[in-house]
Symmetry: C2
Subunit: 350 residues, 2 copies
């Protein structure tokens, strides 16, 4: 039996308690200052407020001021924090790490590192490790994984990627059950680019769903063509960043894009735009309602990343017409239907 | 203006009249003996009985005994016949072909050639060309293309693949519109394997949808994991047959699987099995109701093809666990939920 501490009691963090508890480990779920009410509800034996589903009662629960207890003698840490707060929260965790620690992360997206460069999230964690802990492995988690389905044990396959394959295998051994299947890989870059960009491209798939709102007619062909274009662009971006094609075409890319394009907030944002709402209005509504849509910043980060790669001679924006158009639609209020139609034209004619 | 004859007045054949008529061509739609009522309805100005949508009135309509008129001075032929009847119907078309002809085909699946070997459908056409016409190009059409959406002009991208790229480009010029976009490629094998196998694997995606019927809980993660596994297996099969990875990961493979997994009869068959019906009963019901599900024979053909490739040392059944399991479920009444769960386990552990 091992001890695992999950940092962040949101939907995904809470869900991952299930396979770990089932494997007989001591599982500690720590909530940030934003998760106080979640911990209260769970302590009261109620459903998790996010996915309205209970978690296993063996899970030990910790509030924001109990981080030291949550981390005591705990070698394994899973970061389950939104991308924009990941670095900040990790800084509080670092003092409790040792050379023996292994850190995994389910956060999705990009952030700016301390030098102001856009990087994948494992880099955000690594740059916060002090020199004596610089060998602590960071395992990137990707693949189709809706949190509620992990809680109620629908079978899935996910990827745990780490340059240190032994660290990935160690986590696999801790967490794999007969329904939560873990594939290990050493392609952190391809996994992370896929994981971040599938949220961006799911917005495009949502647009195709939304077009029905314009003329009452389905656009499944449009959605599928966008799916194929999205995969191709994800592969170009991953390759330019040093990632492997297998991750883009596998669970973290194509697999996860399939599930993300079927439901969720990224798709809903796209749907609203597809129906004809201007992006500036849709985004303002989102902000007013305090809704986070990961695909929205992912589009911008992806776009800026391509601009950087363009300067480095590794990729051009012209090779990424869908991402370019998503950026125009989301950040410059470009016309959605006409823009996407043009992307399909160009895809076949260039 | 050119003359194009479409052989087969089913859903897809009828749909392809739209972009051709819009481009100003003389478009002739010929119905087989099974399509008599369709031609009658269309001649009466009614909706097409299959997709309940009208076709453009400029389309010229021909009944089964009017093939000579339909083919008169027509250089371009599109075969839109179900795979099991393709060779037989093509034999009737061949006498009207000339050395100038170009044949395209939207049929999906496999069949046995005259030597009893499983082949992709362009081979079924080619072996029926007499020696003096052996250079007539056969263009394979793949990619996301629900027929009704072509009729009402939802934007899409499809692939026209031919070893003779000029022939593919000629067809692209004839048929491409601002919404029906054509990408040309020379990878006939990869395109055809994708086109055939996406029907087979769509049955698996349907199963994941059906599992909700067992316990009331969604299995979107399962579906997405199956999606990634399906793409990987399609690529292995295509590669072993000499096809290119780009087709599997592009429009004919990943793109078309996405749309096929969302709706249609392949998915519905899978859904019924996922809900717990034994395959032998589901298949009998299908036959009683005279419903053709392309994925059902595609699973068997695919399975037998892998067995042949195994003998040739090019691929093993062990490398294709999902196809192997689909064959067991569909043809040997193996348990569906348990079988698919095992495929997911094996995918991560082998």
């Amino acid at each position: 039996m091992e001890t695992i501490t999950i940092i962040g009691a949101g939907a995904m963090g809470s869900a991952l308690t299930t396979p770990l508890v089932e494997n007989g480990h001591e599982v500690r779920l720590w909530g940030t200052e934003l998760d106080g009410h979640i911990i209260d509800e769970l302590r009261a034996g109620n459903n998790h407020p996010k996915h309205k589903y209970p978690i296993l009662k063996e899970t030990k629960l910790y509030k924001v001021d109990e981080l030291a207890e949550a981390m005591k003698d705990s070698k394994y840490v899973i970061m389950a924090i939104t991308s924009d707060a990941l670095g900040m929260v990790f800084e509080r965790v670092v003092p409790f790490l040792t050379e023996e620690s292994i850190v995994a992360s389910v956060s999705k997206g990009y952030d700016y590192n301390k030098s102001g460069e856009i990087v994948i999230l494992p880099e955000i964690l690594k740059e916060r490790l002090p020199e004596n802990l610089s060998d602590v492995p960071v395992v990137a988690i990707g693949g189709p994984c809706k949190a509620n389905e992990v809680l109620y044990r629908s079978p899935t396959c996910v990827v745990y990627a780490c340059e240190d394959m032994e660290a990935a295998k160690t986590f696999k051994k801790l967490i794999q059950t007969e329904v939560y299947n873990v594939k290990v890989d050493d392609d952190v870059m391809g996994t992370e680019i896929s994981v971040a960009m599938k949220n961006a491209y799911a917005v495009a798939l949502g647009m195709a769903e939304g077009y029905k709102g314009i003329n009452g007619l389905t656009h499944n062909n449009t959605k599928s063509a966008l799916f194929a274009i999205a995969i191709e662009e994800m592969d170009k971006l991953s390759t330019a960043m040093g990632g492997m094609t297998r991750s883009v075409y596998g669970l973290p890319g194509a697999g996860d894009l399939e599930v993300t394009g079927e439901a969720g907030r990224n798709r809903i944002l796209g749907e609203v735009l597809g129906e004809g709402m201007k992006a500036s209005i849709a985004i303002q509504k989102m902000k007013d309602d305090d809704i986070t849509v990961e695909g929205y910043p992912a589009i911008r980060f992806g776009y800026e990343l391509v601009k950087r790669l363009e300067k480095e001679g590794k990729l051009t924006l012209k090779e990424m017409p869908l991402l370019d158009m998503l950026n125009q639609i989301l950040y410059e209020d470009a016309l959605c239907y006409e823009g996407i139609r043009k992307v399909l034209n160009d895809f076949c004619n260039n």
